[in-house]
């Protein structure tokens, strides 16, 4: 009997291991956790603060990465477009400033002021949040939909299909995903990849 239970336990454990995505983090359809992180204005921000929101465009991004910089204006546009419709942008800097000094909290404040970010720009202090989401690079987007109090991951990936030239991008993945959710359906493209800067882990 003991052996039987051990075998069952072993089976259950091995199932858990194989069911988890190799790199860790969320897949489309998973429940995302809320967080409470410090914003560049000094306040603490959680998604729970947004009672009226239908969902969120969570973007792991940073100061130093050229891909993040190339997308800054497009991230501002996304917030201006979708915040009034119930999908605000929440930007999170996941990098360790000891490894990447340009991504320190003070530099985040500078950049947010320079660019007049209309969205919160949060610091993943202690790097607890990005591994839960499974972000690997900047920028890395998670579109979340509120569903009966839960935050369900509906899209993971790139903002669009041309980092170099916003006008040349003919697949606007994030905008399309949010449009689909606003229309009551699921994003047609729910996951994409992009070249980006690896997230700088504490050494």
């Amino acid at each position: 009997m003991n052996a039987y239970i051990s075998a069952l336990l072993f089976f259950a454990l091995s199932m858990t291991v194989t069911a988890a995505p190799a790199a860790g983090g969320y897949e489309v359809g998973d429940k995302a956790t809320d967080f409470t992180l410090k914003n560049v204005d000094g306040s603490m921000v959680s998604m729970a603060d947004y009672g009226d929101a239908k969902g969120f465009i969570v973007i792991f991004t940073c100061n130093h990465c050229p891909y993040s910089v190339a997308y800054e204006d497009r991230i501002i546009d996304l917030d201006n477009m979708y915040r009034p419709l119930g999908y605000p942008v929440i930007a999170v800097n996941p990098n360790d400033p000891d490894v990447q000094p340009e991504d320190s909290f003070d530099k985040m404040i500078e950049r947010a002021e320079e660019k007049e970010f209309p969205f919160p720009y949060l610091f993943d202090d202690g790097q607890k949040i990005y591994p839960q989401y499974g972000a690997t690079r900047t920028p890395h987007v998670y579109v979340l939909e509120k569903e009966q109090g839960d935050l369900i991951v509906r899209y993971i990936g790139a903002i669009d299909n041309n980092y170099g030239d916003a006008d040349a991008a003919d697949e606007k993945y994030v905008a399309d995903a949010v449009d689909a959710l606003l229309a009551g359906s699921r994003p047609e493209v729910s996951s994409t990849k992009a070249i980006g800067c690896s997230i700088k882990k504490k050494k």
Binding site: A22, A23, T136, A194, G196, S198
Partner: protein
């Protein structure tokens, strides 16, 4: 205009031509020291270079000059070229710098670092269309490295220490026929 900036000027003149070549052969840029760097517009044109060689090991590293961990590990890949492994190891550095920085930043960087390994530029902004074709496990973060050889295919989305790279490459070279 100083005489030594003439080659740079010529290269600058030449660059816009590259922007119109959507398909077909690569456009060649040249460093001041004469190193040729081919620019491939569209993954399709680069793909033939990413095939396993017949008998040797091919180490393909994806990098950019703005990527600090990439720049840090470049000398370790250079050492693979210098160490030679009896001519069994080839290194291909696939650069992902932005188009507008190739002449202003990449070429001077290669010159200054004295890079000996083969360098090509992949200029294809629709990365979602080609990342999986390099390796389906790649999230898109760089640095990333692909090791190819007869019966060898290993992809690593990570930065290497000198020792880890040497150890891994040595283990592959020992497997070569």
């Amino acid at each position: 205009m100083q005489l030594r900036s003439v080659p740079l000027f010529l290269t600058l003149l030449f660059l816009p031509i590259a922007n119109f070549a959507q398909t077909g052969p690569a456009t060649d840029l040249r460093t001041e020291g004469g190193k040729t760097v081919s620019v491939y517009e569209g993954f399709e044109t680069l793909a033939p270079l990413l095939r396993a060689p017949d008998g040797d090991l091919l180490v393909i590293n994806f990098w950019a000059t703005w990527c600090a961990p990439c720049v840090k590990e470049l000398p370790y890949f250079e050492e693979l070229v210098r160490d030679d492994f009896d001519g069994r190891v080839r290194v291909l550095l696939v650069n992902l710098d932005f188009r507008k920085q190739l002449v202003s930043r990449l070429l001077p960087f290669l010159e200054k670092q004295g890079i000996q390994a083969d360098v090509v530029v992949l200029d294809d902004p629709d990365a979602n269309g080609w990342i999986d074709r390099v390796d389906s496990s790649w999230s898109g973060a760089i640095p990333a490295t692909l090791f190819l050889g007869p019966g060898i295919r290993e992809f690593r989305e990570q930065s290497f220490t000198r020792k880890d790279l040497q150890t891994l490459v040595t283990s592959f070279v020992e497997k070569l026929p």
